[in-house]
Subunit: 430 residues, 2 copies
Amino acid sequence: MQLDELLRGPVEVTTKGWPALAGALALKDAARQGWNLLRQDLPLPVAVLKASALSHNSRWMRRFLEHFDVRLCPHGKTTMAPQLFARQLADGAFGITVATVQQLMVCRRFGVPRVLMANQLIGRQAIRQVIAELEADPGFEFLCVVDSLAGVEALLAELRDHPLGRPFEVLLEGGAAGGRTGCRSLADALAVARAVAAAPELALVGVEGFEDVMGGGIADAEPKVEAFLEFLVEIASACAKEDLFAPGPVILSAGGSKYFDQVSRIFRGAELGRPVEIVLRSGCYLSHDSKVYTEAFARLSARTPEVEQLGDGLRPALELWAAVQSMPEPGLAILTMGKRDVSHDLDLPLPRQWYRPGLHAGPQDLGAGFQVSGLYDQHTCLRVPADSPLRVGDLVSFGISHPCTTFDKWRLLYVVDDDYTVTEAIRTFF
Amino acid sequence: MQLDELLRGPVEVTTKGWPALAGALALKDAARQGWNLLRQDLPLPVAVLKASALSHNSRWMRRFLEHFDVRLCPHGKTTMAPQLFARQLADGAFGITVATVQQLMVCRRFGVPRVLMANQLIGRQAIRQVIAELEADPGFEFLCVVDSLAGVEALLAELRDHPLGRPFEVLLEGGAAGGRTGCRSLADALAVARAVAAAPELALVGVEGFEDVMGGGIADAEPKVEAFLEFLVEIASACAKEDLFAPGPVILSAGGSKYFDQVSRIFRGAELGRPVEIVLRSGCYLSHDSKVYTEAFARLSARTPEVEQLGDGLRPALELWAAVQSMPEPGLAILTMGKRDVSHDLDLPLPRQWYRPGLHAGPQDLGAGFQVSGLYDQHTCLRVPADSPLRVGDLVSFGISHPCTTFDKWRLLYVVDDDYTVTEAIRTFF
């Protein structure tokens, strides 16, 4: 990873979360200002990552991967933060996963050597851009996904116009009925695999899918996830039997951040008669969250008790802080945070702690009875109990549900220590 | 407005929507490339503004303002696009409205001379930043909102530490029970107004509120909106009677993008015994949309038939285009656009037209039976009828509901002519 230019580059005073009074500083210099959230050195709202939770989650995931003998190619779309990608690669990641060519370009700009595009590469601009990147750097490894003959033909048309000196590597995608992309039947999958194998421009290097498209609760989804993963193994076995894979180990890839234990276990059981490399793509483990992935992790621990030997589980690292701006009627506080700042696609933000400058030594738990009742673009409506101590100017922290849709609302987040002193400023590229 | 530096600055190849193969070009040079969306010169998904609709909406609003003799201080939070702010100021806007100090800093960076912060200015960083801006430029005019004694005291504490050579101008906010910020009673409002009037550091220059917090459908909300606006006039009358306003015209301000006819009519009827300046803050009129504001505009036209004499009403300018990436089972298409790209807080995106490169001369209407059934972070699930012509690689356009939450998903949008050739690239600063 080549982060120097990013770290030396200035953060403009127009950047949300940046204390504009400090002027435009180099990104790396944010860590040297001694800024502390509780001392009101940062404008609110602000998004912070707890350094201790990031490190803990990083270590936990390394132990998980080692225990199950699988690799991780974390989905970069969660954070789109090259500084976090660098941390993940330093932790031994297989590469970085992306969903779009723009995300790929962010990886390339900062020197990620291997990118798995867990998505179809569609459209003339997108295909040509990837070919150009492969041509420009013989060391760049790229994988993408195919699930239709039309998609294979579109790749081939561009590859024939712009021949590469090496095969263009693809993964065959299996899908679940009513779900997202991916071949729904073994017959469809084999037809696509045969078309890939027949084209010298392409190389079939594995099979993949995304298991978190089953709908319903986690407990309901688990048997469907299992059946789906077995379907992916069935596709891979059939492709191996027909010798449709390119030389080398066969990649089996799946795994968002809810069922990666099931993925690891079922893929470990695959017997293809040749070496297999299992690649998870979990993107949310590093920041984790306070609701949807907290619940999913509790379920994972119950489903796969052996993870207990890996030590304490994942911790929520991502918090939002806002100020009380108005207490206009009993039971209601309005805060300086809105849809533009925090996830609201799965759950509303979760009030956690409060802090009054000049009064408290550290954040105080809010206790029961505080609930977000609504978000406007730039405001949070917080229902508070009759004995709420909150008043205008107090600071309140929130946990979030679904990190992807909080990260994408910030071009700048901070890593903070347990006292809320800034130890790093992190840029995102959405 | 000072846009030169923005227009001369490069667009990095990591920017979503930018054709990376073109390399990093100056923003202004995007208009000179002859890029055409339908010729696949742009990566997908992409967000475009129809130039013809922007101009039409701009002209319509000018006629509205003239007809009702009111001013417009459009809410900048909708687009956060200085290039569009410049267009609005050239159209005669009173200034630009913001919700946060970060939004203020974007306005200042590009030279907006008057900013109305339709929000409480809360927190040490925020207040000090505004004082610094006012000190740095004697020509800068700034207004913000107060609705509590605590808020007034917090402003005064900072203003006494950092004295300004001129009064700090505030608007008194009225609010509606169960709504957002703002004093709920005349007594509360007068207490705040008296505290402002008693402080030489502050000047009370008007009364404001936000009327679109009533909940329920528009027809249900109308009488509540009317009562709320009359409450604001009542507050202003009481303040005038007690001579709490600073010298000069009294500002009466309200008006999102649904009820600005009611605001204009009711505020026009206010008799304060002194000159009144009515300032709307509608932010969505320029891009408009295809659902929530389209429906609101139909209702506005029915409620206020005299707007017919202003000519054809507002048109949706904002469109998203994505590609079909997979047709994995009958009745389902998966497209390259997701929660990261398009509004989903009020309604899912609305499929409108399709285009097959090499086949069509222009976009074709999709007709009935196409409906978005779900969004993932990076994917759209589109239910299609049995006779759908769509196939992998086709382009599909979508209208949106609530422009604020589409603009904030793009750092770059394009203005296009009716043939979808790029005439301008627009940067946003969220």
